[in-house]
Amino acid sequence: MNKYIIDFEPGDFEETAVKAVWLDESAEMPDAWQDYTEKHLGSQHGNQKRHGWRYGKSQPLSRLRRQRQGQGEDEWDEFKRRVRGGVRRPVDPKTGKPPKKAKPKKAKPKKKPEPKKPEKPELKPAGKPVSDGLNLDKLPKKGKYGPPVRDAIDAINQVHGDGNLPEIPVKLNSTTGYHGRISISWDDNPIDIAISRKGDHPMMTSAHEIGHFLDISGLPKGEKTFFSETPSGGFGALGKLRNAFQESRAVKQLTQLVNEPAKTTYIAGFSYTMKPDRNYLNYVLQTREIFARAYAQYIAVRSGNTQMMGELSKELSKIKNAKSFKYAIQWEPDDFEPIADAFDELFKEQGWLQ
């Protein structure tokens, strides 16, 4: 009986030629062929050197075979498919030929994005650094509490300069009565600044108190102790700043808080009634306080100091998540933009920015 050996080359079957070799039974089989002609004997699996229809099973499979296996086609399925005529490519009925491959479209060269032009000219600090007016001898250089205050002062120096300031000491204390405090003498001169170790936003507090210091001693002396409260400052940069304060959502929200109805809460088995305190609201709505809070936020935003921005966003989330009354003592970013611009203008007017 005549036999065929159908020999597939191991490797990529799509490109493999199928060889059919006519064997003469009388001819001797070369030794090298012995392995390739072993029959599949189920009972002798362990003894067989090769297994299955495809020679070289022990060799690694080609990428195409692995791909087909992944698609669920085993070797027997592949054998049947190839015996029946291999892969049938689609034929164009009009021409009787396989359709021409579409030429890959040439990718259009991407236009280089034009560098964004800054909307406003970049402002740089001018004049003397604010730190010249602050005596930091009593402030620790290392540890948990001193460095944030020093960092806040560095952030201020990065944003703007100032004119001539008197020198006042900055120190730490451990009171729970306030985050920070500035003392002023009877003749309207600042005495010192104290920052509490108990506060949870020391950088914002430091900038807030330095904001008061500049409001008293840095900006021009007017009829009042605080420049921001000068009655005749209704025009120019100060007027615009004060107008921006009053137009902001945060300040409007604080103003409307007075009329909020009382609320009830239950804590540890007791029922409490809460209502906004006019004294506290009058305090936070003073122009000098709005100025100092806005100044701290201005330094955070304009310096981009990470820790300061973190403290600011923590404050904003506290306001957002407050359960009873939302004391909007800081501004949402979009609400703050006009205020920051007004500060820029005021400081340019003073020669603290260029």
Partner: protein
């Protein structure tokens, strides 16, 4: 913030701070609110008179 007990009993400072903190205030702000609620001027701007004493009804300085 004014906090009152519904049973009419006076609210202690500790109680006030506990309630204010439960509403979202931090400890220092809750403390400051307490002094304001008691009629003190707990502003962070303290005016000092010729004798070196704070002007007005300011909370006692604590360290």
């Amino acid at each position: 913030m004014i906090i009152e007990r519904e049973d009419g009993k006076p609210v202690t400072k500790e109680e006030y701070i506990k309630v204010a903190m439960a509403q979202g205030a931090d400890e220092v702000t809750a403390n400051q609110m307490w002094w304001f609620s008691q009629g003190y001027n707990a502003s962070d701007v303290v005016e000092i008179d010729k004798d070196g004493k704070p002007v007005g009804t300011v909370p006692p300085e604590e360290e």
